[in-house]
Symmetry: C2
Subunit: 204 residues, 2 copies
């Protein structure tokens, strides 16, 4: 089984939010399995994305061209400009085109993952109702404000509800991705992936 992993990109996405999971899923199992366990690609609303601090990326697919994925990953990043205008995930969480896409993908995906304030987008897409979830430590209140039916957890690196797994801020997406590798392909594969990345801090 090879899982198609779709990483959502948007303007002002936090770089490590998507790049940490991109790295983990890209290299997992390559040295120990005969078939790569993951086929990783990026999807965005637009043909060019400017990530945080002007890293310009051409996504693999747009919403219009993307194949169906087994795993979707929603990174975070962004905030509000001095005049109050939201950018990054704070804008996308109110973008109906994005919310529709996320809902459609989540309805058929085997796993839905978020990193950092990506959970705000999942929350606004009504995907976290009745579930435990976490987010960047500075966005805990924002996640609580979306719905009183989201059981918001603090001081955890990630929370697994079975199909929906949310992680804390930025670097916690690496841990959540390694955890997901382990959940699907076993502890040895997760441990070997972390070792290859020299992510010495990982303990599965």
């Amino acid at each position: 089984m090879q899982y198609k992993v779709a990483i959502f990109l948007f303007n002002e996405v936090e770089v490590l939010d998507f790049a940490g999971p991109f790295e983990v899923f890209s290299i997992a199992g390559l040295r120990t399995m005969t078939v790569a366990p993951f086929d990783v690609f990026t999807i965005a609303q637009f043909e060019t994305i400017e990530a945080r601090n002007h890293l310009t990326i051409k996504p693999t697919y747009t919403f219009a061209t993307a194949p169906t994925a087994d795993i979707i990953l929603i990174p975070g990043g962004g905030g509000r400009h001095a005049d109050g205008t939201p950018f990054g995930s704070r804008r996308e969480m109110n973008n109906p085109i994005v919310l529709n896409w996320v809902k459609e993908q989540a309805a058929q995906a085997k796993l839905v993952l978020s990193v950092c304030t990506g959970s705000l987008i999942l929350g606004k897409a009504d995907l976290l109702e009745g579930l435990k979830a976490t987010t960047h430590f500075k966005a805990i209140d924002a996640l609580k404000e979306i719905s009183t039916n989201i059981h918001v957890k603090e001081n955890v690196r990630f929370v697994d509800n079975g199909t929906i797994i949310t992680s804390a801020g930025i670097s916690a997406g690496i841990d959540m991705s390694l955890y997901t590798v382990g959940k699907l392909f076993g502890k040895e594969t997760a441990d070997e992936t972390a070792a290859y990345m020299q992510y010495d801090y990982w303990t599965s």
Copy 2:
């Protein structure tokens, strides 16, 4: 003082090798300092780069258009195809255009950093002679083969020679970048950057 940080990109660059440091330098000090301490940009030989696993990036500058940088960072990644053809850093370490650019930049930069097999490029540019250096754990022998005058260190996350700092594989670039933030702007700034990234493993 704002430091210009030039991150070198090349085809098949390992994503987290450059994205970890990109993240650290991009967000360091933004919440505690009145002027951003780092201006981060990417530079490549070509106008479009395909990083590992088909992440397509448009670098901020090419060699022809890039400004002078205070800090240059050389990531790694790559290896050899089944037929022996080198790709990624194993190709760039023998690319005279890249080696000339690295030498020219290093001659005027305040700091020269490498992640993972980026140290092979520094070694081939004769920048590690007489110095301590490290690399990805699977490339230790390759680094030793470049010169007997490189004092290769194993089982360390990074090695600081004052101006030239090399790190171990992939995720160790995050630690090396946080260390560099601390070296230039103090422990409090490094610690706050790690905390914002929720990189709980960091201890400066």
